[in-house]
């Protein structure tokens, strides 16, 4: 039983302050919790429910069990095509992007006059995105009059049809994604600048060559950053939408029908909301599984400084 006396003790007063602090804690984070319930948790559960229903917006949802999933995985050829296209895009654009960004960061991690200017140049494409950039790349990829094929012909290579050729349309998107590696390069650059100089000095004392310093100091110290970029890069590339919607609309011959574009088509063009919800959940599961696999694999190759230091 709480008496007046208890409150007067130091312990009691501290607890009162603690309760007040906890109360205010909820007042501050409250908006996020409410927003999370309304705009995330509720919709996530609703979309799970809808994925087992037939719902075309005008009539009430009709429970159909796992039919949507069965149709997606066994009968919907375009679903498998969109999954293949997205995997193709991810498997090439993410690793190539990380390698290029890492090399770019190494190139920029040197104190030379004018370096800030170059950092700006490489980073600029990463802040520009969306419809305007997509239009620019349609024009660059124009098979006859585009700049890219002009440059290829200058060095004696045949210019492919890019966005109008089913074989070259996905590489076109990958090439375009590489233009935006500046964002990843900035993360690598910050990582490189955080490597303690003492490690390099120790390596020099041990008689390490430049290559050995790079391979045995820089690369291990960078593995957590590589891992971060890999996880976020894969999540991002699975959700590619605007560029595909604007540049090709999924064509030619569905060769750039990426996952989210097909989901959008099912949900908002054909109004098959239940079907789109099932697709969204499959996407969610794919991303969770890929992320977990990466975390599991990371134990084998990601080096955390604290493991050896402490």
């Amino acid at each position: 039983m709480i008496t007046r006396q208890t409150f007067k003790t130091f312990e009691g007063r501290r607890r009162a302050r603690f309760d007040r602090e906890a109360l205010w804690g909820y007042v501050f984070v409250g908006p996020w919790i409410i927003g999370f319930i309304i705009f995330t948790l509720g919709p996530v559960l609703a979309s799970l429910g809808l994925s087992f229903a037939d719902y075309e917006l005008l009539t009430p949802p009709n429970w159909i069990g796992i039919k949507n999933y069965v149709e997606l995985l066994t009968r919907d050829r375009l679903f498998l095509v969109s999954l293949y296209n997205t995997l193709y895009y991810t498997l090439l654009s993410v690793p190539l992007g990380i390698i290029l960004a890492f090399l770019l960061a190494l190139l920029l991690n040197v104190e030379l006059p004018g370096m800030n200017f170059f950092r700006t140049v490489f980073y600029l494409p990463a802040v520009t995105s969306g419809v305007a950039v997509s239009l620019l790349w349609i024009w660059l990829f124009n098979p006859q009059y585009g700049l890219i094929n002009y440059l290829l012909r200058l060095v004696g290579l045949p210019g492919p049809g890019w966005l109008v050729d089913p074989t070259w349309s996905k590489p076109a998107f990958i090439l375009m994604s590489l233009w935006g590696v500046g964002g990843t390069a900035v993360i690598f650059l910050a990582g490189l600048q955080g490597v303690p100089v003492s490690l390099y000095e120790a390596a020099v004392i041990d008689g390490a060559s430049e290559w050995q310093k790079f391979w045995h100091v820089t690369v291990p110290m960078m593995t957590p950053v590589i891992f971060f970029n890999l996880v976020m890069g894969i999540i991002g590339s699975f959700q590619v939408f605007t560029s595909a919607y604007v540049m090709t609309g999924g064509g030619p011959q569905d060769s750039t029908l990426f996952y989210v574009l097909y989901l959008f088509r099912q949900g908002f063009a054909l109004l098959r909301m239940g079907y789109a919800a099932a697709m969204a959940w499959i996407l969610f599961i794919i991303i969770i599984v890929l992320t977990l696999i990466q975390f599991r694999l990371s134990e084998k190759w990601v080096f955390y400084e604290s493991q050896s230091a402490e």
Partner: protein, 295 residues
């Protein structure tokens, strides 16, 4: 702030070290040649966009292409902007971006005070959930959100694009928290002894000290709002309500072969983000480093 300080110190030492290596090897020239070649390659699309935007339509369709426009047709710009109803689109986009950014920056900075400074049961669990939502693909919530907005009769209004901003954004909260953690708590304690309440501490101490981080979040939010496409595409029907991204996509549908106009319109739409980038480069780069490195 302390963390940022250490990083800068470390980088200065490391940079000096690399610089020494490059000078010693006499590799400076090679380095510059590489930078200039690669830099030109990265800038070429922008150059091509501007060059195309100033060409006479007929001179766009010639092979081999001309690097520079001759004659320079400045009239492409007013003409393209008139055809795409630029004034209305700009007004809509400025409104959406401005209000959305104000809402998300204020709400996120309010929320983060609870996560970074106050102790309450369940805080770690809630914060872990917040981090997990950053990995949740937006498509999972897209369909039910759309149905919810339809039931509320919010379709074809700006409400679905603005109201969620009032509840904070997980990525911005995470970024701000990284920054708040570096501000010494002694200041909070001193203010509390002086009789300042929690709202006062948030407003008078943390917001002013967190200005660089708030600037970063503001810049990110402006760029994101300016380029926003998927949600406006789903929500908005009337072309008078479109933002610039939607307007440009529509314009392209109507004038799909008029590349001089399309490029002129694209240049104008990209220009504000590019200008913003030049002024706020420091904040963007620090923000990326802050979230990317300790994530």
């Amino acid at each position: 702030m302390a963390a940022a300080q250490t990083r800068t110190d470390g980088s200065a030492k490391f940079r000096r070290f690399s610089w020494y290596r490059v000078r010693r090897n006499g590799a400076k020239v090679v380095w510059y040649v590489g930078l200039i070649l690669l830099g030109s390659l990265f800038s070429l699309p922008f150059f091509w966009m501007i060059s195309s935007s100033l060409k006479v339509e007929a001179r766009i369709w010639i092979y081999p292409p001309k690097w520079l426009p001759n004659p320079v047709l400045w009239e492409n710009y007013p003409e393209a902007l008139r055809l795409m109803h630029f004034g209305q689109l700009l007004q809509n986009t400025a409104f959406l971006t401005g209000v959305g950014t104000l809402a998300v920056v204020l709400s996120s900075s309010w929320i983060v005070y609870g996560f970074a400074r106050l102790d309450f049961p369940g805080k770690n669990v809630i914060f872990t959930i917040l981090l997990a939502t950053m990995m949740l693909p937006g498509q999972v919530t897209m369909v039910p959100r759309f149905i919810m907005f339809k039931e509320l009769h919010w379709l074809n209004t700006y409400l679905p694009l603005l109201v969620p901003a009032l509840f904070g954004d997980a990525f911005y909260i995470f970024l701000l928290r990284q920054f708040y953690m570096g501000i010494p708590t002694e200041l909070d304690d001193a203010a509390r002894i002086d009789g300042c309440n929690y709202v006062g501490i948030w407003w008078r101490i943390l917001l002013p000290l967190a200005k660089p981080a708030l600037a970063t979040v503001t810049v990110f939010s402006i760029i994101r709002g300016w380029n926003d496409f998927l949600w406006p595409l789903i929500i908005l029907n009337d072309s008078e309500k479109f933002n610039l991204a939607l307007g440009l996509a529509t314009f392209r549908g109507l004038y799909h072969t008029q590349w001089a106009y399309l490029m002129a319109a694209s240049v104008v739409i990209l220009l504000p983000t590019i200008i913003l980038y030049f002024f706020a480069q420091r904040f963007i780069v620090e923000g990326i480093a802050l979230t990317g490195l300790k994530g």
